[in-house]
Each structure stands twice: as structure tokens, then as C-alpha cells.
Point group: C2
Chain length 251, copies 2
Amino acid sequence: MIKVVLLGAGNLAFHLAKAFDIATNIDFVQHYSRNASIDSEFNQKIPTTNSLNNLAQADIYIIAINDDSIADFSKQLTFKKGLVVHTSGSMPLNILHCKANKGVFYPLQTFSKDQKVDFKGIPIAIEVEKRSDFNLLESLAQSISENVYEIDSNQREKLHIAAVFANNFSNQMFKIAKDICDENNFSFDILKPLILETANKVQRINPEKAQTGPAKRKDQKVILNHVSQLSGEQKKLYTLMSKSIINSINE
Amino acid sequence: MIKVVLLGAGNLAFHLAKAFDIATNIDFVQHYSRNASIDSEFNQKIPTTNSLNNLAQADIYIIAINDDSIADFSKQLTFKKGLVVHTSGSMPLNILHCKANKGVFYPLQTFSKDQKVDFKGIPIAIEVEKRSDFNLLESLAQSISENVYEIDSNQREKLHIAAVFANNFSNQMFKIAKDICDENNFSFDILKPLILETANKVQRINPEKAQTGPAKRKDQKVILNHVSQLSGEQKKLYTLMSKSIINSINE
């Protein structure tokens, strides 16, 4: 059994608490939050505390708080035994200023409190400062997820950028598509199956090979026709994205 | 029973033939292909022909051939009875030059021959020139799909542009994300669950509300840090997409 103390009470902490509570090889010994009482949605069977002086002994301490607070918060962790990990995708390992061993435990997904989360399919990127901590952190990750990757701080920074493209920017494409639907009085619903299929396709096929459409066919007639119907930002993005697709073919 | 003649032997025709063959209220009376023998993958129970002079009588004739060939092909259809529809997303109804009534039957999905297709969830956009044909074409569409939309030629042109954003451009974002993974020696697999979740989320939430990430938070520190790590096209796109997201917030 891996003894775990969870520190934080945000969305990620909420979902981690639930996952740790049901994982068979995790002993979820304590849940810390700076607020006097931890959200009643949390499982009350787990002992809670709001004082860092009362932290229980554990194998792993998981900091699940805002990125910008991690450095200062970690300075308050003065114990020397155990492994302290943060859960941020955009912060390096060495942002931790605790005395204990350091690591990163980064689940790659967006979390909101009102949404059920099954950690099994969520990739967890882990990193340790001391090699001797690797098996322990890997065991913790594997106890809730089937997709565990060792990713160092440099890679994690790039992974975060890649995730911005894969998630935020593709979502913005969906937003622009919806704008076009709205502007022309037909329902965005008509595009939803296509959006699902686009995401499903790259689960099994390289996105470069999955590409279709006018730019992939270098169909300048259709491209110019589309561009002529757009203006402003939509026009600019259509042109740049089509160029990007055409450049990919020529790579 | 709606009597249907299918004209064409490409990917879409292949999948339509399969769907019509099993639909209960469709009498799939003939399959035309200009090639002497229709691909043996097609169901051979359906009578075939390679001569437009031998076309069977039907309620609906479905042209499923290349966009650029539709106009010339339709001129060869000299019969006056029945409804002739094309299946193109990017061609107006009036590209049809046949003597019979005209319409459009556009399934909004990308098709490849080696992939199973369930038409039930695929939206079909229909349009008729004569109002009296609407019920017939709607019945045909509803016999294979649960998502049938009436979309006129102007709207369909915009729908095609919206689909380019929703499918081709989001897929290009996945491609760039994969490039970043490859360049930094970690697997694109780690991003796949996030990609699926991005597409799943907009099935139930407006993409504008579904947005997360540094641009949505107007987190200039992270944005500038990311931009500083990119170059060339990736840098240009990151900047433009972040601007687009920030502009969306201010709309």
C-alpha cells in the first residue's frame, strides 16, 4: 500500500481524491486544504486537516493547487522524508522548494468539478529527481491510470504546447465552425458527428494521413472560392491553415 | 418502397450501396457504373449496368461521382420522370443539367472504402428544387440516417467551409501537435485521450464555453513563453490562434 497525502481542494484534487479513495493499493491517509473545512463533496471518510503542522506521514505528498502558488507552498513543507510531487503541466520539477525528494505527477486532461472522470484512460506524465523514487511514483500512477509516461521537465513543457494545439486550438476551430453555422442559420449539430470522427480517426491513423479536404487535394479553385466568402480573422486563418496543410504534403 | 438507382462506383457510392441494400423501405433497383463491371466488393444481388441507355425506372437517381464530373454527367440523363440528386457538398443544385426534377443528397462525412460506415449517425443535408419532391427525398434520407437537415445551396456552401474548419483544420492542429511530440521524443499517444475529450466536450457544450488554456485565461506569461519556444509556421499559428481565442472572449 502506498501512503498518500493530498494537498489542495480544486477540481483536480477533487477528482484525485475520488480516484485514490477507490484504488486498491493506495492508503489515502490525509487530505489537506487551507480552508477550515474541505468541500462536503469530498469523501469524509478520509481524515482532513487545514494545518501543515499536522500533516500525516506518507510515502507521497501530492500538491494539487494553482500553478503560481506551488513554489511558495512547497517552501512550507519542511519535512525531509517522503516524495513531494506537483501536478502541473507547465511547471518544471525544480519549482518545488521542499526538503523531501521531488517529482511531478501530471494527469493530462482538463477537469471540471461537475463532470465524471475516469482516470483509467487519462495519461499521467511522471518525473522524479532521484531515480530511486521512480518505481514508487510509477506504482501510484498505475494504480489509477493505464497510461503512464515518463516525461522530463523539458519534454513536459513541449507537451503542454502540443496540448494547446491539440485541445485549445482545435476547439477554437470548432468555435469558428459554429460561428459560420450561426451566421448562416443552420445548426452546429450537423457538424458534431464529423468532429467526433475527426478525433476518432487520429486515435488509429497518423493525423497527416488522416487529412482530407481542398488543401490536402491542393484544390486551389475551392480554396480561392472559400477564401472569397470569408473576411477578417476567418479569412486569415483559412489561408494560413490551408498553407500549413499544403506545406505538410510537401515536407 | 422508394425505387432508387445509384450512379457511381467511388467510396461514397460503395457505402451508399451497402446502406440502401439493407434499408427496409428502399427498393435498390439498379447500380450504374461506367466501368464494365462494378467492383466485386459491391453486393452483386443488385442489377448493374454500364450503359445510361439501360437505366431502370426509379423514384430517385443518385449521382455519387466526382464533383467536377457532375455537370457533364447530368446532361446525359435525358429522361424526364423522377428526381435526380447529386451528393456533393460543394456544388449547387443548379449544377445538375438533367431534364428530370433536381435535388441534393449530401452525407456530411469523410468516407474511405476500407472503413465501416454506419449511416445512422451521419447527417444528411437535403435540398429540392420543387417543393413537391421534399417528402420523397426526406424519406430516402431518413431511411438510412437519423440526422436529416434541409440545407439550401447557399447554406451548403457555408456548411462546407465550416466543415473545413471543424475537420481539416482541427486535424492539422493534431498534426502539428504530433510534430511537437516527434521533435521532443515522446509519443503522440499521450495526447490521444485529450483529443477525444475535446471532440466529446463540444457534443454537449458550446465550443466557446468548452475552451480552456492559456489564451482563454489571457495568461500572457505562458503565451509568451510558448511563443518563445516555437519558430516558423508553428509560432505564427500559435500567435494567431491565441489572438483568435482572446478575441472570442471579448466578442
